[in-house]
Every structure is written in structure tokens, then in C-alpha cells.
């Protein structure tokens, strides 16, 4: 049984109102009206009266975890999180960017979110394909059951089967289109570096001009920085104005990390990010 968007919206408004009213939180991160129905926006409620302006519909795709790190440490924030968004918040807690006590998870179990550009339903092809938040303080609807469980990594099969030349040709074409607007990193809840490595002038990791080599360095390094941290929300790819399928590469790295380190990103607040961790008995096989 799933809850309608409307009932989720009602619950969201009610819970947000209560949290603001009681002073439990200073801020509620949710969704508000955009320039039309198909384009709602991330929305910040600070007063109980702001709650009336909240919306929730199938186009409320944005991962609001992105905004958490924008507020001073210690700010009490409630955040509306769908499944992947929730994992992003957990990952941020693991990384001590925010404290568990400072954040209220308003969990949204939902199936049927749509990409406003294509109108397609967002599922495991471009995201982690989870529909229920793994952790929440309040659940704003009934848990989604009965959706076919598809591994988020299934979509990789075709690409893994490609030979290396074809795969390189594929990625080269994709990365060459990059205009370096950096919407991917800015939409990413885990990309909180300021400055980003690619903006540094000393060292100059890659050229600033949008040429193949600088683009490649930017994207590959970003994939590495997100290894074991990417929660596969797909925001990078949806934000991209030229539709580079970044999610594919992120999925591949996430899959490998999960296999090698036995841990998926953002599933438990007790985990330690995999790449700043080790086990003495990690096998040398991972290097083969």
C-alpha cells in the first residue's frame, strides 16, 4: 500500500508545523511551489506559517540532504527525505558533517517520482531504486511494498560487457560534452568541498577549460572522491544540462566498493566511510 502524494504532502505540512511550533527544529527542509506544477523547488520553512507553502508531488525529486551542510553546525533541522536522500543524510552523519541529534528525518516512502525532463518514473535504472527510507524519525506515509526489487547495479551489465575500446569511446564522448558548469557536484549531497579540488590553482589538477583532459580529470577524480560515499540518488545526472549519465559511473564504483569492502554507503550511522577505513585482512585480491 502506498500513500498518495497528497496525503504525504498533508503529513509533511502537519509534522513540519508541529516541529516548528514546538521549537524542536529551527528549519524544515522540504519542497515548495516552483514556477509551475511540474517544477517544484526545494523550500525552507522557518516559521509555522511557512508550512502552508509546502508541496509534495511526483516532481519533488531534489535531494534535500544537499542543503544540510549549508547551515551552521548545530542548527536543528528537519529534512524531508526519500529513500536515497535519507541515505545521504546518514552518510553525512558518518562523516560528522552533521550530528544525528541535530536532524529530524521526515521519511517519505514513495514510488513514482518522475524526472521532469523526460516524464519517466525514476527507478533503479538511474538511482538506488529504494523506495523506503532506511532511517526516519517520522514516516510521512505508508511504506512502499510490492514494487519489484531490482538491483541498482543491473543497469551496468551492458556497459560492463562492452569491450574496453567501446567503453572508452562511450565515456570520451560523454565527458567531452561536459561544459564544466559543475551542476553535478553542486547538486550532489556528498560534494561539500569548497573549494573543489578542480578549482584549485595550486595544485592544478586539471585545466579549467572544458577540454577532454580537464573534463576527464574532473569526473574521474570526483568518482573517486565519492567512492564508498555515493548513495546513488541520481541528482548529478538529473542536474546535468547536457545529460551526461554520471549515475552509471557512480553505480559502478559503488558496486565495486560494496563488493570489496562489504558496505554500501549511507546505510547505517555506525559505519565508517570505506575509503578512510581499512581492515587488516583486506585482501590483496582487490588490487588484481
Amino acid at each position: 500500500m502506498t500513500s498518495s502524494f497528497k496525503s504525504i504532502e498533508e503529513n509533511l505540512k502537519a509534522e513540519a508545523g508541529k516541529l516548528l511550533e514546538s521549537g524542536r527544529v529551527e528549519i524544515v527542509l522540504a519542497y515548495g511551489r516552483g514556477y509551475d506544477e511540474n517544477h517544484p523547488m526545494p523550500f525552507v520553512a522557518k516559521h509555522p506559517s511557512d508550512v502552508a507553502n509546502m508541496v509534495f508531488n511526483e516532481y519533488c525529486i531534489h535531494n534535500l540532504a544537499r542543503y544540510l551542510v549549508r547551515y551552521p553546525r548545530g542548527t536543528k533541522i528537519a529534512v524531508a527525505v526519500k529513500a536515497a536522500d535519507c541515505r545521504a543524510v546518514i552518510q553525512l552523519i558518518q562523516e560528522e558533517k552533521i550530528k544525528r541529534d541535530d536532524v529530524v528525518f521526515l521519511g517519505i516512502p514513495v514510488y513514482g517520482m518522475k524526472n521532469p525532463k523526460t516524464g519517466e518514473i525514476i527507478d533503479s535504472k538511474t538511482t538506488c531504486g529504494m523506495y523506503n527510507p532506511v532511517l526516519y524519525d517520522v514516516l510521512l506515509g505508508e511504506e512502499v511494498h510490492g514494487q519489484k526489487i531490482v538491483s541498482p547495479y543491473d543497469v551496468l551489465a551492458d556497459y560492463e560487457a562492452m569491450d574496453k575500446e567501446a567503453r572508452w569511446a562511450f565515456w570520451k564522448k560523454e565527458f567531452d560534452r561536459c561544459i564544466r558548469c559543475y551542476a553535478c557536484r553542486k547538486a550532489c549531497p556528498m560534494c561539500y568541498c569548497d573549494p573543489c579540488f578542480i578549482d584549485q590553482s595550486k595544485p592544478r589538477w586539471g585545466d579549467k577549460s572544458p577540454q577532454s583532459h580537464g573534463n576527464l580529470m574532473y569526473h574521474l577524480t570526483r568518482f573517486h572522491h565519492l567512492a564508498g560515499r555515493c548513495i546513488d540518488c541520481g541528482e548529478c545526472s538529473r542536474a546535468c544540462p547536457v545529460d551526461i549519465p554520471l549515475y552509471l559511473f557512480h553505480k559502478k564504483v559503488a558496486k565495486e566498493c560494496e563488493e570489496m569492502f562489504g558496505q554500501a554507503a549511507g546505510m547505517s550511522i555506525d559505519d565508517k566511510p570505506a575509503l578512510v577505513n581499512f581492515r587488516v585482512d583486506d585482501s590483496d585480491k582487490i588490487l588484481e
Partner: protein, 649 residues
């Protein structure tokens, strides 16, 4: 713009044979920013060094590249040349064209080409080098020794005798450690107390030693030369400043506790001193067995104390100590053999562990030195089982090193004090120590029955109440045997203290698989640790006997002295630093550093690095996503530039 001087060494024919050195110098001269490039027969010779020094002055060089042997050979030599010429020594780059070029090829074309590529990399790198200065810090002249067994006592005395102030921290209410529990020591069979108690007394008397008993380290801050350590002194409920050690209280006390000192074989009072020669000779109250603490009534001790030293309101107190160096001598625990149910320890009263037996032999022990068992009998047959839990893949893989010898000592003492038959069940006899083999031979001559086979099981005799059967395979005869005995002595593995990992965490040490503290290098630095200024001595590093422990204690004292003897010390210059403007507060550096050098400054919202703790490995720099960490001398741009130079040709 840099002014680079390149100096190519022939190393006689060592290099010149497979690298065209003059061509290399000519090539160098064509590279951007290279002002002068020369080749010479032996660059490390005095004339070679003078040539570099002169060129630095004449050409106003600000970067020097020496193209010669491995930096591990002569980097220091050439750094001195730079320093003497007024150039910062870190502006030197060594190109290794001997070990890694001329000696590994016979082809002069290949050799020359590779040398050019390496040199080009060095030129790219040299341009970006920055002068570095070592920071000099003040050193606190005091030393803290943690653990007051024989290792700690020895180290403390040695240091105190050099005039250094020593803080000796002991968890128990008396110093002395395990050695004070022993009766005799192998192989000389001299009385343990006779050799130890004078040292314990010296600790008490020494004007340079502050003895802190009933104390544990609760927090360690700072770094080599400047440790800032918080000690928690547990409440003793007796004001040791007032107590005159009349011990009237201990006589009147109705409370009964289990004597830890006597390994639980007897009871002691609730207010007590662990043993007659304890240092300090002042009692403490054990809350758990004290009638007043349990029932709220009694206070007999308070009534009899003329000094008014009893203080039931005493609380744990915290003492701040500063020290320049720390020696850890925290010793060991005997393995708990109860889980090894096949040996029946804890189940059959006739089964003892080694420390209990030590107490049985001791004239100050529970039986006044008589070997009588828990049921009051004198044993007629005794089995001593070696290697219980040690040399055992399922428990402790290591050899505990001393059990063979003390088991032989037990045999001797049993023979001396009883008329019992004594059996030794052993895997093989390890007697590697001065006088040990001789001791073994002596015991062989004392009508002790040696069975080469590990004791496999201890069982209740089906026939006789209180009689035990030891089962083993005699590997000499290949027969499975059952030996009926009255008393079984287990020689269990020596294992790290239960809290060794907590202590390791406090001092940022690593522990080995078992939990013993890791030395910096197993052979060349067995007393140092990866934490600068923290040394280890005795069994906390690995099982060893008293002579080795004492030797280590002396060694650790000397090592600690090398730090505190100077009033200033130089810190590593090639450390890492954080550029706060780029720090994204991900705290990866804090998570990964093996030395705890980076820390998060909550108020500034950025990580910082305590350079005194930094060893310059550069791990933090590579896990820093925003490149905020600068690993000095191996900065990102230096490495990237060198790679670019290496790949150009």
C-alpha cells in the same frame, strides 16, 4: 623564476660507464631555469662539494640538483653543502642515476635516456621546492613511567639517578608488580623479595621520584617533549598524608575481601595492605568488602585510627602531570584458564595456576610457605602442565618464554617442600638463557618425571575422591598415558593486560595481534614505538624473563633520557599542514592519521595538524578531497610536476 644548478656525478666509472655523463650535463643546460650544469668525477668528494658551493655563490643558484647515487646515500652530505652555502637544505634534489640507472643496465643508450628523463623530472620538481625550517620546541625534562613492576621500578630508578624527575604511576595500591608475588626466581633460586624490596624502598626514598599508587592514566595530550597527562587517583578512603602506618585499623576491621595479592587463595580485611613489605606501607579500603560501605554502619577503622586518617568521603582525584617522555611498563596478565574446560581449572580444587602456586611457596603467602592444597592436604603427586593456552593457535600463538623455567623451578620447590612425585608435561623444553640449560640439567637430576607431551585433559579420578587424572600423549613412547595426581599446576600463557588496548589508544600505539604493544622496529628499535617519545619495556611488549625485562627497562630509560636530556628538540620539517581556506571539514585526515596529528578545530570549523606529532607520511594529503593539506616537500604540485618532467621525454 628559479636559478637551478645541475651537478652530474660520474662516480668514477660506476655511473659514467653506462650513462654519458657529459651529454647529460649538456642536456641539463638546455632545460628551462637551469643556469649551470656540470659533470665531475666524484661529486661527493671535497673538491666536488666545493665546486657546488662555489657555483651557488658565483651563479646565485637557488636550487641544486645532484645527479648521482641514491638519496639514501648522500642526501645528508649535499644538504650540508647547501646549508654551509647559505641555501636552505630542502632546496636540494637528488637524482638517483646510479642505483636506479647505471647499475641496472648495460646499455649506455638506455641508461642515458633514462637519466635524462629522471633529471628532467627533478628540474620540474626543483622549481617548486620551498625552503623548510625545522621547528624547535622546549622539552619538559621529566619522565613518566607507567607500571611499577620490576620494569617500571628499574627504569624509574635509573632515570632518577641521572637527576631526572620521574613520575611512577601504579594501578595497584602497592608497587612491586608480579615479581613481588614470587617466592624464588629461576635459575639462581634467589629470593624474589630479597632482590626486589630494596628497590621498592629506593623508589619510596628517592627524592627525584614521585610515586603515584592507585593511579591510572585517563587522558594523554601533547606530544614528544611535551606530554600533558591526566592521572586519575582512585579513592583510597585513607589519607596517606596523615596515616603513620600503625596498621591498627587492619587488625580491627571486620570486613572480609578476597586477597588479590594471594590470587584469591585467602581472605583479607576490607582495609588492608596487600602484603607486609608493600610500598607504600599504607592501607586502603576496598569499598566492596567494607562493612560501612555495604551496610552503612561500622567505621571501626575510623575509631581506632589515632591519626584521623580515615576519610570515607574521599573521591577520585585527577592529577595533571607534564613529562617529556613516557615509558610504558604495564606488564601482563596470566591467561584466564577457566575457558579451557579440559583442564578443569575452577572446577577441581586441585587445579592451580602458576601465580597461585607462587603464593603457596611464599612464606608470606596464604599457607606461610607450606604446600598444602585447598582441602588442607599435602599433595603426594603433582603434575605441572606447560604451554596452557600459549603456543596454541586457538588461544595465544606465542611462546610465553618463561613457563618452562618457572615450571622447573616449581618442580624444585615441590621437591624441596614436599615428598610428592612431580611430573612435568611439556611440548619441548626451552631453556635459552644464561644458566637456564644448567638449571634444567640440575632439575633433571632431582628425580622429577619429565613427560614430553602436552597435557591434554585433567579429569576427576573415577576411583578416588579428590584425585585427578592427567591425560597426555607421551610423544617419546608414542603412548597415550594417564597419570593420577593430587595437584595440577597450569602454566598459562602470559597475555597482555586486559586494558592494554585502551592504553594503546591513549598513547596512540599499535598493538600486535595479541594486544602486546608494537615496537617501532622488532630488531633495531625494540623499545621505541611509532609514537615519538613513548617507550616500552618489559612484558607489555612481549613475554620475557626478569633479566630481559630489567635490561629493557634500562634501555628504555636511556632512550627516554636521549629526549629529556636536551632542553630543546628539533621537529621533523617535512610535516603536513592544513590550508584553512581550502579545508572542507570532512575530517578524513583526523580519521586516518596513524599518529593522531590532525585534529578538528570545532570553533574554526577546520582541521589543524599538530606538527609535533606528524611524521610526514602524507596520507592525510592524499585523503584530503579539497587538497587543503600540504605535505611539505611532497606537495601535490611538486609530485605532479615531477611526474610531468619524467614523462616529457
Amino acid at each position: 623564476m628559479s636559478r637551478i644548478g645541475v651537478f652530474v656525478c660520474h662516480c668514477g666509472l660506476n655511473i659514467a660507464k653506462t650513462v654519458r655523463v657529459s651529454e647529460l650535463a649538456q642536456f641539463a643546460a638546455t632545460l628551462p631555469d637551469v643556469v649551470v650544469a656540470k659533470d665531475y668525477k666524484f661529486m661527493c668528494s671535497t673538491p666536488g662539494q666545493e665546486m657546488i658551493a662555489n657555483d651557488i655563490k658565483q651563479h646565485k643558484l637557488d636550487r641544486i640538483i645532484v645527479t648521482a647515487c641514491s638519496p639514501l646515500m648522500h642526501e645528508q652530505t649535499f644538504r650540508k653543502v647547501l646549508a654551509a652555502s647559505g641555501l636552505n637544505q630542502y632546496l636540494l634534489t637528488i637524482v638517483n642515476i646510479r642505483e636506479q640507472v647505471s647499475w641496472v643496465t648495460h646499455d649506455i643508450e638506455e641508461g642515458t635516456a633514462k637519466a635524462k628523463a629522471l633529471l628532467n623530472g627533478a628540474v620540474y620538481r626543483a622549481r617548486l621546492l620551498a625552503p623548510l625550517t625545522s621547528r624547535v620546541i622546549d622539552v619538559n625534562p621529566d619522565v613518566m613511567v607507567i607500571g611499577a613492576g620490576i620494569a617500571g621500578i628499574q627504569a624509574a630508578l635509573e632515570l632518577a639517578n641521572t637527576g631526572k624527575k620521574v613520575y611512577l604511576v601504579e594501578k595497584n595500591s602497592t608497587i612491586g608488580g608480579h615479581m613481588a608475588q614470587f617466592d624464588k626466581t629461576f635459575p639462581t633460586l634467589d629470593c624474589s623479595a630479597c632482590i626486589l624490596t630494596p628497590k621498592m624502598d629506593s623508589i619510596l626514598q628517592h627524592k627525584n621520584i614521585t610515586m603515584l599508587t592507585s593511579c591510572e592514566v585517563s587522558e594523554v595530550k601533547g606530544f614528544v617533549g611535551n606530554f600533558d597527562i591526566t592521572i586519575r587517583q582512585k579513592a583510597r578512603y585513607v589519607d596517606h598524608g596523615k596515616c603513620n602506618a600503625c596498621l591498627a585499623c587492619t587488625e580491627k576491621c571486620p570486613g572480609k575481601g578476597v586477597s588479590e595479592w594471594d590470587e584469591g587463595l585467602v581472605k583479607r580485611k576490607a582495609i588492608y595492605i596487600p602484603f607486609p613489605q608493600a610500598v607504600p606501607q599504607k592501607p586502603v579500603i576496598d569499598r566492596d568488602s567494607c562493612t560501612f560501605f555495604k551496610k552503612g554502619k561500622c567505621r571501626l577503622c575510623e575509631k581506632v585510627c589515632e591519626q584521623k586518617a580515615i576519610d570515607f568521603d574521599q573521591q577520585d582525584t585527577f592529577i595533571q602531570v607534564k613529562a617529556g617522555a613516557v615509558i610504558l611498563a604495564t606488564g601482563y596478565d596470566l591467561m584466564d584458564t577457566k575457558p579451557l574446560i579440559q583442564y578443569g581449572y575452577g572446577k577441581y580444587p586441585g587445579v592451580y595456576n602458576a601465580l597461585e602456586v607462587e603464593r603457596l611457596f611464599n612464606s608470606a603467602g596464604p599457607t606461610g610457605g607450606k604446600v598444602t592444597m585447598r582441602d588442607g592436604r599435602e599433595p603426594q603427586a603433582i603434575a605441572v602442565l606447560h604451554c596452557i593456552g600459549s603456543r596454541d593457535k586457538n588461544n595465544s600463538e606465542h611462546c610465553s618464554r618463561v613457563c618452562c623455567m618457572y615450571s622447573l623451578k616449581f618442580a624444585h620447590l615441590f621437591k624441596e617442600k614436599t615428598s610428592a612425585d612431580v611430573y612435568q608435561f611439556y611440548i619441548d623444553m626451552r631453556a635459552a638463557g644464561k644458566g637456564y640449560e644448567e638449571f634444567y640439567n640440575r632439575i633433571i637430576g632431582e628425580d622429577v618425571k619429565f613427560i614430553r607431551g602436552k597435557g591434554a585433559r585433567v579429569a576427576q579420578s573415577p576411583d578416588e575422591e579428590g584425585r585427578l587424572i592427567v591425560e597426555a600423549e607421551d610423544t617419546i613412547t608414542g603412548k597415550f598415558i594417564k597419570v593420577p595426581v593430587d595437584m595440577v599446576v597450569l602454566s598459562p600463557a602470559m597475555v597482555p593486560r586486559a586494558d592494554s588496548r585502551d592504553i594503546a589508544r591513549l598513547f596512540n600505539l599499535s598493538t600486535d595481534k595479541q594486544g602486546f604493544f608494537m615496537e617501532r622496529h622488532p630488531k633495531l628499535a625494540p623499545l621505541s614505538t611509532m609514537s615519538e617519545g613513548i617507550f616500552i619495556a618489559g612484558v607489555c611488549q612481549s613475554p620475557k624473563d626478569i633479566p630481559d625485562t630489567v635490561a629493557q627497562a634500562n634501555g628504555a630509560a636511556a632512550e627516554a633520557l636521549t629526549i629529556v636530556v636536551k632542553d630543546k628538540m628539533e621537529l621533523e620539517a617535512t610535516t603536513a599542514m592544513v590550508n584553512p581556506a581550502s579545508c572542507c571539514a570532512c575530517q578524513n585526515c583526523v580519521r586516518v592519521c596513524p599518529y593522531g596529528a590532525p585534529f578538528f578545530n570545532e570553533s574554526k570549523g577546520v582541521s589543524e595538524i599538530n606538527e609535533a606529532l606528524c611524521k610526514g607520511c602524507g596520507l592525510c594529503a592524499s585523503v584530503c578531497p579539497s587538497s587543503a593539506i600540504i605535505a611539505r616537500h611532497f606537495t601535490n604540485d611538486q609530485v605532479l610536476a615531477e611526474m610531468e618532467g619524467l614523462m616529457e621525454f
